[in-house]
Amino acid sequence: MSEFAVDLADVRKTYGRKVRALQGVSIQVRSGEIFGLLGPNGAGKSTLVKVMMTIVRPDCLRGTVLNRAIGDPVALERIGYLPEHHRFPTYLTGRQVVEFSAAMSNVDRRTRKQRAGELLDRVGMGDWKDRPLGSYSKGMRQRTGLAAALVNDPQLVVLDEPTDGVDPVGRREIRDLLIGIRDEGRTVLLNSHLLSEIESVCARVAIMVQGRLVSQGTIDELTASSRRYEIVVEGSPPAWCDGAATVQPIPPGQLLGAGVTGSASRLIFLGLDAIGAQPILDRLRAENRTIVAVQTVRESLEDLFMRAVTDPNTGLIYRPGAER
């Protein structure tokens, strides 16, 4: 099996002549990982997913999904997909929806009947499986959709906002389900607005802005440059800090800033590791400072996301939507 379940390069799509939804996006999702796709509204995430699922025809595309060309029926048979605003027929029961999805993926009758029951139980819809979708809440439809996406025993599961409309308990259950899917060796491509959701389950993420991929990697890799050391001491900042509260980047190991919080001072150092912090701690002890806390801090996914969607030249957030 290839290292990548999804390996796409130079994906381009322009709607009409003006709306450039995808501008040469390259994305790689490793087999067996949960990969998060992030971006503001109109960034092109859903278009990229739709290109993968043959719903949108790209202007340009290189690469493979499950080692096959995009649209290859063999690959599509092994992909489970839950679109963002899915519309299952409301007159069908949950079981019928899941079985129909299985039949469309060429799953034989006996298997689809067995799997439909199992999966609906797994997503917590066992008691509702023989009732029509018209009587379901949005969260229940979402759970049923998840079962439908998994019924063909997929190697790759593509989920577009799977927790949309689901209550916090349901979200937790879906998160656990995703982890379970990954532990079974499947690959999950998760497109979500919920950063906390992505952060808690995804090994790697990609951030898209205005049809372009601005960063891609593990959360650790993406936030490495922002990793810093924080030392909290009692009293005012030491004199050598000069009371500076600057946030300008400085060379590694140097003081990034210092701030006063109540009776304590917080000293922030960029690019330090535990060994590099020892001389600073020695110096503070030599000055008879009481060290309250020492901790490594890194940028949150939200900080990373906000940095990605902010124009570095103007400091303004990019306007939503594709580039025209």
Binding site: K50, M53, V56, R57, P89, N106, A148
Partner: protein, 355 residues
């Protein structure tokens, strides 16, 4: 095969979830019940115990078998299946294509390992399921009714299933194309009805003009024959009148021919809805076995779109011969070509569109 079957089962579930589906099937059974409650005896016809005397319809002129077949064709096929149930079917199925291409719905299907072309055409065929079911029910009920009441177990009644389904498919292809372009059920229903009206109007106009053309031809022959047999004075007035009528007929010949040429050409391109249903008439009713129609030959000439110097029966026979000389391939083949072209356009849009 699994996918095709799944789409058909889903289509059946979709239809059966609609009240209109059951209403249409209920009305179908009711209409068969009504026509099977009509009876024929030596003096006329009966309906739910009441008797109505009729010199045209009684067992001396029409056998019970022919009577029920006539009812099946004239009421069942022409009015019920050819008009009312088709309207109901269009109302019920006009949403199939717009629903297919609706956001959130189409994504679920396009992501499956099935080609867009196959998906669209299978969905289209599933739309014909409703019409086929309705006709099958009507034909089966009529088969039983005619068997019991007319004492004739006429299997050819089931020819209505493919014929009426074909007739419906011509209209449904237009409905599918409009639904594909506009994504609106209402627009596809309205525009299909408009198209049906246009097709009917052109077909009806062609029939009328063809009758006029044949009447003119027969008039010329009849007048020439009358002139040949008319002596010189004392029939001078009659001769003058005939000469004038012949002159008029000769003058009108080119107009009738030209008018019919264009209308026939347009009709050839369009689906022949009325002619398709009339095929059942050809197959189920043998004109020679219809004494009621032979009566026409004893009646006087027809005034409108008919020759004044030819008996109505002769004229009607000639018109029927002319219409029956049009081959099944002309009726169905050209209609299927139209349907194929419309479907090809709808499929091309479905295949090329982004959702």
């Amino acid at each position: 095969m699994t996918q095709t079957l799944a789409i058909f089962i889903a289509a059946y579930r979709e239809l059966s979830a609609r009240r209109l589906f059951w209403l249409a099937l209920g009305i179908t059974l009711l209409s068969v019940g009504l026509f099977s409650s009509l009876g024929i005896n030596e003096t006329g016809v009966s309906f739910l115990g009441w008797s109505f005397e009729s010199p045209f319809f009684n067992t001396n002129t029409t056998s019970p078998e022919t009577f029920y077949k006539l009812l099946f064709i004239n009421f069942g096929v022409d009015w019920w299946l050819g008009l009312l149930s088709t309207l109901l079917a269009l109302v019920t199925t006009c949403g199939i294509v717009p629903d297919l291409v609706a956001p959130g719905s189409v994504d679920l299907l396009l992501a499956k390992p099935i080609s867009r072309r196959r998906l669209f055409l299978t969905k289209y065929c599933s739309g014909l399921l409703f019409a086929a079911l309705q006709v099958l029910l009507f034909s089966t009920a009529s088969f039983i009714a005619i068997g019991i009441r007319g004492n004739a177990w006429e299997w050819t009644l089931f020819a209505a299933v493919p014929i009426v389904t074909l007739f419906y498919s011509f209209l449904f292809s237009i409905c599918a194309l409009v639904g594909m372009i506009t994504r609106s059920s209402v627009a596809s229903l309205i525009l299909t009805l408009v198209a049906w009206s246009v097709i009917f109007t052109i077909g009806f106009s062609e029939t009328l003009v063809n009758r006029g053309r044949i009447a003119n031809e027969m008039e010329q022959v009849a007048i020439e024959a009358a002139l040949a047999s008319t002596k010189e004075p004392p029939d001078e007035d009659a001769r003058e009148s005939l000469t004038e009528a012949l002159s008029q007929a000769n003058e009108q010949e080119a107009t009738w021919q030209r008018g019919h040429f264009w209308l026939f050409g347009i009709k050839t391109i369009l689906p022949k809805t009325t002619d398709t249903l009339a095929l059942l008439d050809r197959w189920l009713i043998d004109s020679a076995a219809m004494p009621a129609r032979d009566k026409e030959s004893t009646r006087g000439p027809q005034e409108i779109f008919g020759p004044r110097h030819v008996k109505r029966g002769e004229f009607e026979r000639r018109v029927t011969e002319e219409e029956h000389s049009r081959s099944i391939w002309w009726v169905l083949g050209t209609s299927l070509l139209f349907e194929g072209a419309v479907l090809a356009a709808a499929t091309a849009i479905f295949v090329r569109r982004d959702y």
